[in-house]
Subunit: 371 residues, 2 copies
């Protein structure tokens, strides 16, 4: 039996049983029939093939509407509390895949208000600064100019606030308590916030003055917000947003705690090659206690953070991943070699990303949406 | 012993013991020393002389600062849930007196967001419409053009929201529960709202980029909001706003419930002379059961809503009010005559008010403040 675990946008503890989470949240698994249907539109993303993006709400309805010529918009976002790491990019890469596949608009929300209200140490200047810093990473992912609108909550609030209070009027504290596990000690801004997170699901409908379907690709930890959004949407005369959920990318620590500081187990998008090598060098793996032992009995890719990085992001080719898994299990590859190979991939990826991130500074304004 | 009563911005029940309220809220009574000090600046308003405006927080500090050349700003407001009645004008008239006496700026907040969130039946269109309708009544009171800024929350939200969430971060649900008596069934917009009501106390400081004292004239039922504002102000690096409190103007029903509908016991600023006559004709008085009885034993002005109207608003001359009281007590004046005299005063007042209200339509834009 799985250890007890908690998943909300504000707390993730314990080892997550993703199958059980689908039951708890009442979402649907993405099954093979849905994947076959999706293959009509183009290649199936490796995160779908590998069940990293594995759950949804009404994604089939989104495709029905799309087939009828009723295009949806995408909505995802980020809480700008600091720099962006590789784990953050994972759902963004998937969002880009969806944008390309369906050629649709994306609303990208920077919840600078949320991060200010939830983090004692962050000022509004901090979260706004991070909002702009993080926007560079978003743009670096290659989202379509003209079809991608990035906004900070505090800079679109004149548009959002009337929609947010219409949402807020339909949500009481009992709901927020039950969904997020808040108690009476939470500040009233954090209690109000979920209504702000609902708004982008309705923005396109608001601008177009007609109901437009919305699909939210996100980490499954964000689902609680959008469960509320879905509950109130029809009462506001909008469609319920559909959702497509990713598992949370494990850190380089694996699920074990290590003596190394957490910061060192996180690869930031601005890290240098040397830093990447060091961090991956220190990563938790599924290797055996000694080289001899590992050559004899092999490693355990299923608990290895290096393997996870490859699986989630850096080795999209299934054949290559499968080869790696076999080699690991059979003891044909040692952790050092495997780490070095991953480091090379990450360094190459980050080099490109950092170049694009630098260029993004010149085109930032083409992406920003403000009142 | 006084009957049990409750006074919050959202609930006023029972017969209010205003002396006890000062104890409960921890405010200070306006004493004769303070009135003497105030007389330095000009005439003492009849609402002060009659202890209708009777309580304060730090009003003496406001005068100290003023004497040092540190001018304050005034802040008051209105929840635009419908038309304005005479009772609403009472604190506004006092606010105008303060503006004239000290020649200071006034921020007038229309909480269209609040009224939408607290009233099931009101849409945002409704509360915005009432915001503009009510603004005409504000302007008709004769506030100074150029020194008076009226705003709807939803139209100044881009400026207000960052200040509101800074406030919200310092207020938890326990506080809101204790201060307003809310429970978990309250919607999260209504829970958040007090942070929006705090903001205008800091607006001038925000615009001027330096700490500016603020004085809030208001009905004492609004004090709970500003107790919270005062608690958080210094943490936001602003002055605590000072307050000056009015008693709540009793309706034409007196404190007794009458069979007449409540609407008929309320004189709207747009009422015709005929309607005013009818409503005052139906008012609850301190008259005796028969004319004979009243001629013999006199009436009871202390429970009479007609006398209250004169005392609060329509007979600012103390000598005239005292004469009326004597006549009533001695049985020298009957209710019919007294009602007719009040109706005449109200009709005359409203005629002027309605003319000014009409003219206000042309100058409305000179008063409105938006992002």
């Amino acid at each position: 039996m799985a250890e007890d675990f908690t998943v909300t946008p504000y707390q993730v503890t314990g080892e997550i049983d993703y199958d059980e989470l689908v039951e708890r949240f009442g979402t649907k698994k993405i099954d093979n029939a849905l994947l076959r249907r999706l293959s009509k539109y183009g290649e199936i993303h490796h995160m779908l093939r590998r069940k990293i993006v594995y759950s949804h709400r009404d994604f089939d309805w989104i495709l029905n509407e799309y087939d009828k010529g009723n295009k949806f918009v995408l909505y995802t976002g980020r809480g700008p509390s600091g720099p962006v790491h590789i784990g953050h990019l994972m759902p963004w890469a998937f969002t880009k895949y969806l944008q390309d596949l369906f050629d649709v608009k994306l609303y990208f929300q920077m919840t600078d208000d949320e991060k200010f209200m939830f983090y004692d140490k962050l000022s509004m200047d901090d979260t706004r600064k991070w909002g702009y810093e993080n926007a560079l990473d978003v743009i670096a992912m290659g989202f379509k100019k003209g079809k991608t609108k990035i906004f900070l909550d505090t800079e679109l609030i004149k548009t959002m606030y009337p929609l947010a209070i219409r949402a807020a009027k339909k949500i009481n504290f009992s709901t927020v308590k039950a969904v997020f596990g808040f108690d009476n000690s939470y500040n009233i801004g954090s209690i109000f916030f979920t209504s702000i997170q609902s708004v982008p699901a309705f923005l396109e409908s608001y601008f177009q003055k007609k109901k437009v379907p919305c699909l939210i690709p996100c980490g499954i930890d964000q689902d609680p917000h959008f469960r509320i959004t879905r509950d109130i949407a029809e009462g506001l005369d909008y469609y319920k947003p559909a959702l497509i959920h990713a598992k949370l990318m494990p850190s380089l620590m694996g699920s074990e705690k290590m003596s190394t500081s957490k910061g060192d187990m996180t690869i930031w998008t601005t890290d240098s090659p040397k830093t990447v090598k060091r961090k991956i060098g220190n990563a938790f793996t599924g290797g055996a206690v000694s080289v001899e032992e590992q050559k004899k009995h092999g490693g355990k890719p299923e608990i290895c953070s290096v393997f996870n990085y490859n699986q989630y992001f850096f080795l999209p080719d299934d054949k290559a991943l499968d080869d790696l898994m076999q080699k690991c299990r059979s003891g044909a590859i040692m952790c050092g070699e495997c780490k070095a190979a991953l480091a090379e991939r990450v360094i190459e990826f980050l080099q490109r990303h950092q170049e694009r991130r630098e260029k993004a500074k010149d085109i930032l304004e083409d992406f920003m949406l403000r009142d």
